[in-house]
């Protein structure tokens, strides 16, 4: 059997979990989903629609807010009672964090960001290194294999829906596992489109030339209902906040269109942009790596091209 930890925030599903379930149901063993906290119970049907035959809902009065060690403790208890061949989670901030706590507590090996899994002993995985620009084939030994699935590596596909068996479990959680928990939040600014979820991203690199140079990019992003992004060079120069960085050490974006303006296309930036369905590069250098990685390119000075684009977009939308 495989246990799949579904990631959610106060009942709101993280869609990466559906990719993880899609991969997990193809591994040849019964798939059991785990939902932590009562707020997640309504997600049982979604988990079933993506392949979970059984759903374990973990019920405890202190699980309303995310607490990584407490979540891990719930998973450890399920490992002890169900003795699964593998535990899966998504390779997100929280998925990797909870799984690492499980690994630390059980002293089992953990492979982060897998894209292919062959169960067995040893379990053979292909996993992302260097943010996915390099792959590693690795072997894991152990009674239970702890694996996270790289986001955007597998497309989430529904399987014929069936109604899942629901099992409610109550874990024993002592105070210690709540030492670290979300104790406050700052919500995203109202009406602001998040970079990770934007349908259009207008990104700027060193070629933008200055902090002020981003004005036309902001205008284009606003016209197209998108978000502004930038390269690591730009955040290192202090032109834009780090929250807007697209890259291995910034945000992974997955828009329908990424317009990359004056971005050279270093590997660590391309890693962050890889989830884009289409890339339009605007660059003075036709030989820049970003142009080779793009679907469309305009060769020219972004300071002339973007205002022209803004004008054309306005015309088209009028």
């Amino acid at each position: 059997m495989i246990i799949a930890l579904i990631e959610h925030d106060r009942g709101k599903l993280n869609e990466s979990s559906l990719e993880m379930l899609t991969l997990g149901r193809g591994l040849g063993l019964p798939l059991h989903a785990v939902l932590i906290g009562e707020a997640a119970r309504p997600l049982a049907d979604r988990a079933a629609a993506f392949g979970a035959a059984t759903v374990h809902v973990v019920q405890h009065e202190r699980l309303a807010e995310y607490a990584p060690e407490a979540w891990a403790q719930c998973v450890v208890e399920l490992i002890e009672s169900l003795k699964p061949e593998a535990v899966l989670a998504s390779g997100t901030d929280r998925g990797n964090e909870v799984m690492a706590h499980v690994a630390a507590q059980t002293r089992l090996p953990m492979a982060a960001n897998c894209i292919e899994i062959k169960l067995g002993n040893p379990c053979v995985v292909t996993r992302a290194r260097w943010g996915g620009s390099l792959l590693e084939e690795a072997r894991l030994n152990g009674s239970t294999h702890l694996l996270t699935v790289a986001p955007l590596a597998v497309e989430a596909v529904e399987s014929p829906a069936r109604s899942p068996t629901i099992n409610t479990v109550t874990p024993t959680l002592d105070d210690k596992v709540f030492r670290v928990r979300v104790s406050g939040r700052v919500e995203a600014g109202a009406g602001k489109i998040s970079l990770a979820e934007a349908r259009v991203v207008v990104g700027g690199g060193r070629g933008v030339g200055s902090a002020e140079g981003f004005k036309p990019l902001e205008e284009l992003a606003e016209l197209m209902g998108g978000a502004v992004g930038c390269s690591r060079a730009v955040t290192s120069l202090g032109w834009r906040p780090h929250a807007e960085q697209v890259g291995q050490t910034g945000t992974r974006i997955a828009p329908d269109l990424y317009i990359a303006c004056g971005v050279s296309g270093a590997t660590q930036h391309l890693i962050g942009a890889r989830g884009s369905k289409h890339i339009l590069a605007i660059n003075t250098d036709a030989d820049a790596p970003i142009v080779a990685a793009a679907d469309y390119a305009i060769i020219g000075d972004l300071h002339e091209v973007i205002p022209a684009l803004c004008a054309e977009v306005k015309k088209a939308m009028a």
Binding site: P109, G184, Y296
Partner: protein
């Protein structure tokens, strides 16, 4: 307060990389070396916290003798002293790396209030060394932190979450793994470099007990074949670009 920062020497890759013939490593014959960006920020954060609160800082790495280069870089930024856990250069997995760090922390005798790590190493991307160290030492751990404030006997740490922030209040001592963006690391001064060059580096040779996760080989992912369509040169290409936007359905609400 006393702070330990753990770093790792990695190749400085910019563009495409190639592998060694045995497919075990990146071919580094033409590459320089650096530390992971998250860890560079961890070093900077430690220096700032000591400047603000007083105390002492140490930097630690597990790796071959050549890793002293990265330890000296950290001391040039303002870290007080360095510890090298010397290996023969083979790759230690996350579990064995964490075990060696735990042993070194216990042997050091200094009571660290804060152990700083990068959220994940840029090369292996294991996402677990800091957490494993925290468990073994019985300490709380927060990961992926982009804002850290020391308050009384504890810390307030913030992590980005869907466009906003999750806030964690934790007691010290603790393990904190940070992400790039928590600060903008300084360039070491010339004087800092000179001072760092003269400092001793404490050394230990941790015992190799084998990896639980075994690297079979590395692979370069296959690039998806695709052609780039040049829409034109300069602003004159704008109408054609907007045609593409329409074709992609970007103007539909």
């Amino acid at each position: 307060m006393n702070i330990l920062v753990c770093i790792k020497r990695i190749p400085a890759t910019g563009g495409k990389v190639s592998l060694t013939a045995d497919e075990q490593e990146i071919d580094t014959r033409h590459l320089g070396f650096t530390v992971s960006p998250h860890e560079e920020c961890a070093v900077e954060e430690a220096v700032r916290l000591i400047e603000a609160n007083g105390g002492s800082s140490a930097v630690l790495t597990l790796g071959a003798e050549v890793s002293t280069e990265q330890l000296r870089d950290a001391m040039a930024m303002g870290i007080d002293r360095a510890i090298l856990l010397e290996t023969d250069g083979r790759e230690w997995d996350a579990g064995s790396t964490a075990a060696a760090i735990v042993e070194a922390v216990r042997a050091d005798g200094m009571n660290f209030d804060l152990l700083l790590f990068g959220n994940e190493a840029a090369d292996t991307g294991d996402y677990q060394v800091g957490i494993r160290v925290a468990h073994a030492l019985g300490l709380p751990c927060v990961t992926g932190i982009k804002s850290l404030e020391i308050k009384g006997g504890g810390a307030v740490a913030k992590r980005e979450a869907s466009g906003g922030w999750d806030i964690f209040e934790i007691p010290l001592p603790a393990v904190v793994t940070v992400k790039e963006g928590i600060n903008l690391p300084r360039y070491p001064s010339f004087q800092g470099r000179l001072k760092a060059k003269k400092k001793d580096i404490a050394r230990a040779k941790p015992q190799w007990n084998g990896n639980q996760m075994e690297k079979a080989r590395l692979k370069i992912p296959k690039e998806q074949e695709h052609q780039v369509e040049i829409l034109g040169n300069g602003p004159g290409a704008a109408p054609k670009a907007v045609e593409v936007f329409q074709k992609l359905g970007l103007f539909q609400k």
